[in-house]
Point group: none
Chain length 400, copies 2
Amino acid sequence: MDFELIREIVIPGDTKIVLLVLDGLGGLPHPTKGRTEMQTANTPNLDRLAREGICGMIYHVGLGVTPGSGPGHLALFGYDPRRYRIGRGALEAVGIDFDLGPQDVAARGNFCTVDEGGRIVDRRAGRIDTDTCARLCAELRDIEVAGAQVFVEPVREHRFLLALRGDGLSDALSETDPQREGVPPPQVRALAAGAEGTAGLVNAFVAQARERLCDHRPANMVLLRGFARRPELPSMADVFQLRAAAIAFYPMYRGLAKLVGMTALPSGPSLADSLAALREHWGQFDFFFVHYKATDSAGEDGDFERKAAKLEEVDAAIPELLGLQPDVIMVSGDHSTPSTYRAHSWHPVPFLLRSRWCQPDRAERFNELDCQAGSLGLFAATEIMPLAMAHAGRFTKYGA
Amino acid sequence: MDFELIREIVIPGDTKIVLLVLDGLGGLPHPTKGRTEMQTANTPNLDRLAREGICGMIYHVGLGVTPGSGPGHLALFGYDPRRYRIGRGALEAVGIDFDLGPQDVAARGNFCTVDEGGRIVDRRAGRIDTDTCARLCAELRDIEVAGAQVFVEPVREHRFLLALRGDGLSDALSETDPQREGVPPPQVRALAAGAEGTAGLVNAFVAQARERLCDHRPANMVLLRGFARRPELPSMADVFQLRAAAIAFYPMYRGLAKLVGMTALPSGPSLADSLAALREHWGQFDFFFVHYKATDSAGEDGDFERKAAKLEEVDAAIPELLGLQPDVIMVSGDHSTPSTYRAHSWHPVPFLLRSRWCQPDRAERFNELDCQAGSLGLFAATEIMPLAMAHAGRFTKYGA
């Protein structure tokens, strides 16, 4: 739903909405047993929510499109992922929960190997380990360039984040990663008028980085790509008049939530940790995004049984969550990760919404088949927030 | 799905996609027996595909809109039929598989009858037979006009195609068919600046045609309408990175396929012919559009039993088709042609897609009721190509 309409009908309230995101939720049939992970797991509490609530299947970007974690979550939060794009450098910052400011330009960095002639011989520096990456980032962190503050943060293996902070910086910059070996990394060029100054800053950084790294072969040079500023997203407070909080252990999901103005609450990795955070902050917020990662990890590992077991773990936590008496609870995922496919996939994701105001529908259990038969059918994930708002009494009538 | 998104996520592959179009597929219940043609036909192989695959109901232009063959097929190929329009003259060219070039302007022609005063007395010249039409076209074919090459091709009965080929021709022309009798056909006028020259050429052609036809009453004059250039459609190679081939006996469908850059393979009218062509060219293409006409013809003839029988004929050919091991097979239609309605209709059309990566759904048979209960619900035909691309592993993730 477009934000113009939402802003026209949104009203304040004192109701509570919980969005429980089971990462990589949807699955495919077991090759011999013929049932999906959700059909296999024994989930009486989720099934009860499905029976009492309304169900459907959601797609996040489009039919047949596999969403990355960024677009997948933005859609769940109500933000059209086609309209609100997160550049690669900005996503890298989000992924390590680096607070990219409005004055910042970020890039994805690789440590790489160059020969004596400066030609790239390995774009990933032999995939150095993350500890080495952290040490090398520490060597680069105090590089000074005129007109901007420099941040260099390790990500994983050979990957790092470069952020520049200063007045009037531009992200209209060419990349220094030629995406092939045997050639030297090119200088950064301005791709738009007004970006020349930033290009100069980046080139000055790269020149100093090269000097400092020359004895650190295989990681004796850097490559930079995906220059991006912080995406401009209206906040959930602005659009939905919600005080929104995120309970997520992994930095990527905290970072995504913060991009839409959520408060990231501290939380440990377990469901018990999430529930504790929820209880502790229940009075302070109207909307809680609770992220659960283990379903996706099991799917990516191709571990059908573990994915089903993780669903049962979630199910066991539902009564305690319901004990908080949320007015609306939604359970879904940011994409499917079928264990047989071992990766994010395009398959639509089961969705349920339970409140006291639910129209009856045919879904009896929380799985792919039942949710397909639910009253919401196959629909865009961006519509779940409007549904939640309505069921929470936070939308008024449209027109007289 | 918009092509901008498709181009962003498309990746090459070596998978094979088959789209089997059963023209006029969908139907309505038999007036006494109460079951549709698809429900009546015994189609165990199609039913198995429906059971193993994902199903839904598609609409090609909009709910309640009966698509012509052009828009119906364009939608199946992924092209928004509202955005990509085929002018009437261009469709007439497509319908006889006349290769309309980028320098051409085409019009639909009617032979008609005029009285001594030049007034139209029969806009269709008593519906002369097609052979007569062909002889008359031969009489007009060598008319010469300064600045353009002239093509006159018979279509059917009183209908023919006029195409002019030359530099700087325009299709912004008024029509010479007043759509009523008792008046003389008006001269062609330029409807935009720069079209005056082409208007003059067309009027010169009409004047000569009248002279040559004066002794051929009832076909003693021509009417021209629907001036159109070849529509500019991006090719399937460009949009989907697919080498696409069409296996279709009727020129209209070959012509439509060529408009989106498919290679039209030679094929006879029978399903066996189509399968032979498919086998022969299997290694050379990634995507095969196979057109089957007999279902539509039976529907237009109001022959319920024949339509059901034709579905059984298709069903019998499915095992051989599957023997080629396509990665994705889709079966659907370009519109419904219910036998009781005896014409193209607006009713949504059953759709199935089978690949090894299908989410389970409730469709057990290939008919209207089961496809309605399928996981795809009621959706736009333009989305079937993105679904096929995903299931064929030809789309990468959107966003990180």
